[in-house]
């Protein structure tokens, strides 16, 4: 296998981890929805936390993406 194809396959492998981030973000909002369904008045306190969790989880996905970019372009 030549280096160019190996790089592209490696970049593809590097973003497999994004599946986990997808599960994580889904979990966060599932918990938010069920939490708000049980206690709608908690929205003010909970919503900010959910958004914070979303941002932190999304960042984990982007670590994988950055690795893919490093493999491809650097």
């Amino acid at each position: 296998m030549d280096l160019a194809s190996a790089k592209e396959i490696g970049a593809g492998l590097a973003v497999i981890g994004l599946a986990g981030a997808g599960v994580g973000i889904g979990n966060i909002f599932a918990a938010l929805v069920s939490g708000l369904a049980r206690n709608p008045s908690a929205r003010e306190n909970v919503f900010g936390l959910a958004i914070l969790g979303f941002a932190l989880t999304e960042a984990v996905a982007l670590y994988g993406l950055v690795i893919a970019f490093i493999i491809l372009f650097v």
Partner: protein, 251 residues
């Protein structure tokens, strides 16, 4: 990434070049530095013109300045506690510098200085060194007990202490890469879909439908970029507060 001869130049937009003719070139003043000066100027202008009227019933600009002051003040006192007031200027400066920098970056043709790891790493290093110095000054040698989790069997300590130290040091990486990766990935996405529009548009009238779809995606992505810009500045500031809380209270 060559696609039938066309190349999507996804990272070319992050190329630095000097501005300000020969004066800028002689001191290596790049467009990233220009944007940093600009965003600092915007924050200073907001506070200067916002605080000047000193009206009891604030106007729009004064309300914005007061709201932003309150927002960060509440964040500091909520996360760190009463001691948080001492760190209010730092968190305020960090938050608004990053926020304005991110938001300026969404403007067409403007440059996002937070999309460079050098910038975000410098900011994260500042936070990291500051929290460590604060912890050492407040607690002295007791600071190192931070790495020894309480209530675990002694047998596990040789395993856990290195992990704690590693997780403390990895804050530096996670804090800087989070902001950098978010801003970079967002702009790469915009660039890639922009290139799709051009390629599909040039491929003939049959492909104008998909090209329009890509344009719609790009518009949606710009909206998403605004969300990410605000969110990442907020996350950076909140994490700074959380690290300061750890430094002040140790656990």
């Amino acid at each position: 990434m060559a696609a039938e001869g066309h190349a999507i130049d996804a990272l070319g937009q992050f190329q630095l070049h000097t501005v300000g003719s020969f004066i800028g070139a002689s001191v290596n003043f790049t467009q990233a530095n220009l944007m940093m000066v600009l965003s600092a100027g915007v924050v200073l202008a907001l506070l200067h013109y916002g605080a000047r009227p000193r009206a009891v019933i604030p106007g729009r600009l004064q309300a914005l300045a007061e709201l932003s002051y309150n927002f960060i003040h509440d964040m500091c006192t909520d996360q760190v506690g009463e001691e948080g007031k001492r760190f209010f200027p730092l968190v305020f400066a960090l938050f608004f510098f990053i926020l304005v920098g991110n938001l300026i970056g969404v403007w067409p043709y403007a440059f996002t200085f937070t999309s460079h790891i050098a910038t975000t790493f410098a900011l994260a290093l500042l936070v990291m060194v500051l929290t460590t110095v604060v912890a050492l000054r407040l607690h002295g040698w007791k600071f190192f007990s931070y790495f020894v989790p309480s209530g675990v069997p002694k047998l596990l300590l040789p395993l856990l202490v290195p992990i704690e130290i590693l997780s403390y040091l990895s804050r530096l990486v996670s804090l800087s890469v989070r902001l950098f990766a978010n801003m970079m990935a967002g702009h790469v996405m915009l660039e890639v879909f922009g290139a799709f529009i051009v390629m599909l548009g040039a491929a003939g009238a049959l492909f104008w439908g998909p090209a329009a779809l890509c344009l719609a995606t790009d518009v949606a992505l710009i909206g998403f970029e605004f969300l990410v810009a605000v969110l990442q500045a907020y996350v950076f500031a909140v994490l700074t507060c959380i690290y300061l809380h750890d430094a002040v209270h140790l656990h």
